[in-house]
Symmetry: C2
Subunit: 438 residues, 2 copies
């Protein structure tokens, strides 16, 4: 059965007259919108935030992975525009959803953004629209959450009047090699036509596509990728803690294991897992698995290790201070780096913030320095602003804790001037009595 | 402090007059001995088994990773010989230990082979001997198990009169690309001189060496490599079981995830983990961790999944038969492949044997076909011999279970003739009502 709209949308794709809507102009949506626009596909960006929409329309970039001049160029040429008016979805032939999928405080999936997006699209989309979800979520979401809302709001029927697809975003913020266009993209259409349209549309912007036979497989793909990372980071964190007890530098172990030319991939330990993907995505899978009476014990165990890391790091700091006959209570402790990974300006889910909360509760006096993050607010609501460091300040603090390995930090200079250093990122390679490693 | 024997051994290494003893001529020791001998280093192989020693001296090869003509050539030229007389260790300048390190029935390390080897070497070695352990074992074994026995039996002092080192074997049976000489080797000497001698000796046979600062780091390296594999195979096995419940082919998920060009390494599910490394090595680490009051929860969880796999596979077979209104009890079930991995002739720790035990206990009539394994004995002592397959036989069995994906198997032919197939290795790509996947 071929939908009567199928030929129409394929023609528009083929002659580049297709209009693509991107819903959500964050760290996934804006690069995607710009990539399509750079390939001469008209894009309308839909964004709830008036200020973000205005910024885009002013050609003013706010996403690290987008080149300022690229945004300026596609906005000034009129091929990309942003709007807060979701009824304009009826101008689009394809809508790509790039909304957040966070966890609530009980680590349960918060589907409200996907649901709201589905309702908005369902209300306004015209017959013959292709809708693709890119937000990381548990398998069956496209079929069982998005699709019914689209049908209910639009009164249209899937595969007769519109198509759905899941195609996971694979954005790695700060990755200098792999951007939107050169990262292969997985496309899982709901039915054959949806797969064909998805392939055709994404081909306009992405170099390499890989199609799978259903949205749920595409959904699982993304979660598998990030679960793999969560599990392996948790494994190496646990082994790092054991290495500490056995008087071994775990980084030396990893560097040697890396010489194995097959069957090994290096992961590095750290004070915990941060960002908006790895700490969250696997718990989407754990959630849906419960619905099938299935326990994902590896994810559960990995999550347990990850949860304990900030506490264990606090104990490391306490042990280090103890050697100087000091307690956390009353000590001045400076954290270097509060971003969740090196060389980026994002402190979401950063383990540094959790350690800071715990040290603060124990009476430690907190300072932090991060050249990319002027101000932080911890989970428990504590607010700090960036302290610039110089010789005088670093000499006065009781302990320096390296929580993020920004390349701008100078290990030799830190080692020279600090009294005591807890290095949770193996930044300081030279052996020194002052330095305690994870 | 330089040992008075240091210059002597280094001179012998430099002018190729060093004599290397290899203790244990199994799947690690024999390839190692042959590799040194091919590089014109005289090697004496020490082996408890009279028949193995005789075979080596007859130039008759019994290890898949050794080329028959290589063994013949180094034996006939006299550069390699084998003996059962361990007192001849006093003819060696360096002794490399390649003995088994199994687990006992309670999954505790069985150190008896390392201990016996250390005693034998200690009794006979001359001053100025370099002793390197290659057997996978927990960190601190070289320093705390081997070294004290060598000193006690020899009356010599480490680093004055002899040296010790740990250098893990990385043999991957059947790997066609990476053999002993071109797999980088990690060397961890106990003290600086031991590291230097170890580097010099292994350089004679191995292309790339990586030195680490202590034996315990080298010990941890090997266990990390195999723990990484255990954990990732267990993770994908668990996800495969969930995919089964959610009506997805997990292999499609993995193939799509593999298109991610960074941060992902593909592992494939199967009926369980076999062989002499991955199911064993991580439990060496778990064992020593207990001594440091530390629980390795990831290894524990992975082991738990692995333990359950044969049982879960039995349930798959039961479900498949159930669709044909049959029970395991009274059904004729044929297993294809009983080696622990494809294209090898080793059934140690093979999950197929565990499934066979469980099916047999439930009253199933067992047949197996494996072109590489003429006879099997299960853990519970059941003995079977290989059945050749033809159309007649395959048509009479109630269920064919593919447990090992030997390349010689013909998926189309199996699908054509079998009534019912449980494919635990994704060998059969074509969809068919007869086929149940893991």
């Amino acid at each position: 059965m071929t939908s009567k709209y199928f030929a129409g949308i394929m023609d528009k794709i083929n002659d580049n007259s297709v209009v693509v809507g991107v819903l959500g102009l964050g760290y996934v949506g804006l690069p995607l919108a710009v990539t399509f626009a750079k390939n001469n596909i008209r894009v309308i960006g839909f964004e709830k935030s008036t200020s973000k929409a205005a910024q885009v329309n002013a050609g003013s970039n706010y996403i690290g992975d987008v080149a300022d001049e690229d945004l300026k160029q596609v906005v000034s040429s009129g091929i990309l525009s942003a709007t807060t008016d979701f009824s304009r979805i009826n101008e689009c032939d394809a809508v790509l959803i790039c909304v957040p999928t966070p966890l609530d405080k009980f680590k349960k999936p918060d589907m409200s953004y996907i649901e709201a997006a589905s309702v908005e699209i369902g209300k306004s989309m015209k017959p013959g629209t292709f809708v693709s979800l890119e937000s990381t979520t548990y398998p069956t979401t496209t079929e069982n959450v998005m699709l019914p809302l689209l049908e209910r709001e639009s009164g249209l029927h899937v595969n007769d009047d519109f198509w759905v697809c899941f195609s996971p975003e694979r954005v790695d913020p700060g990755n200098e090699k792999y951007k939107t266009d050169n990262t292969p993209k997985v496309v899982g259409g709901y039915g054959e036509e949806a797969g064909e349209i998805g392939f055709a549309i994404y081909s306009k912007a992405i170099n390499i596509l890989h199609t799978v036979e259903s949205p749920r497989i595409a959904e699982m793909v993304k979660i598998l990728e990030n679960t793999y990372r969560l599990v392996n980071i948790s494994l190496i964190n646990e082994i790092a803690l054991l290495c500490g007890k056995m008087d071994m530098n775990v980084w030396d172990v990893i560097d040697a294991a890396k010489t194995k030319p097959y069957g090994f991939q290096a992961f590095y330990p750290g004070p915990g897992i941060g960002g908006h993907c790895i700490p969250l995505d696997p718990f989407y899978l754990e959630y849906i698995a419960k619905n099938y009476n299935f326990d994902l014990t590896m994810i559960h165990t990995a999550g347990h290790i990850d949860n304990l890391m900030p506490h264990r790091m606090t104990l490391k700091i306490s042990s280090a201070l103890n050697r100087h006959k000091k307690s956390i209570n009353g000590s001045k402790i400076m954290f270097l780096g509060v971003a969740y990974k090196a060389d980026i300006n994002d402190s979401r889910e950063s383990p540094a913030l959790k350690i800071i909360d715990e040290i603060a509760k124990k009476g430690g006096e907190i300072l932090y320095h991060d050249p990319y993050i002027p101000r932080i607010k911890t989970e428990e609501g504590r607010i700090f602003t960036n302290t610039e460091i110089d010789e005088t300040i670093i000499k006065t603090v009781d302990c320096v804790v390296i929580t993020t390995a920004h390349r701008v930090f100078k290990p030799e200079w830190i080692t020279k001037h600090a009294k005591l250093i807890v290095d949770l990122r193996n930044m300081i390679k030279k052996k020194s009595d002052k330095v305690y490693k994870l």
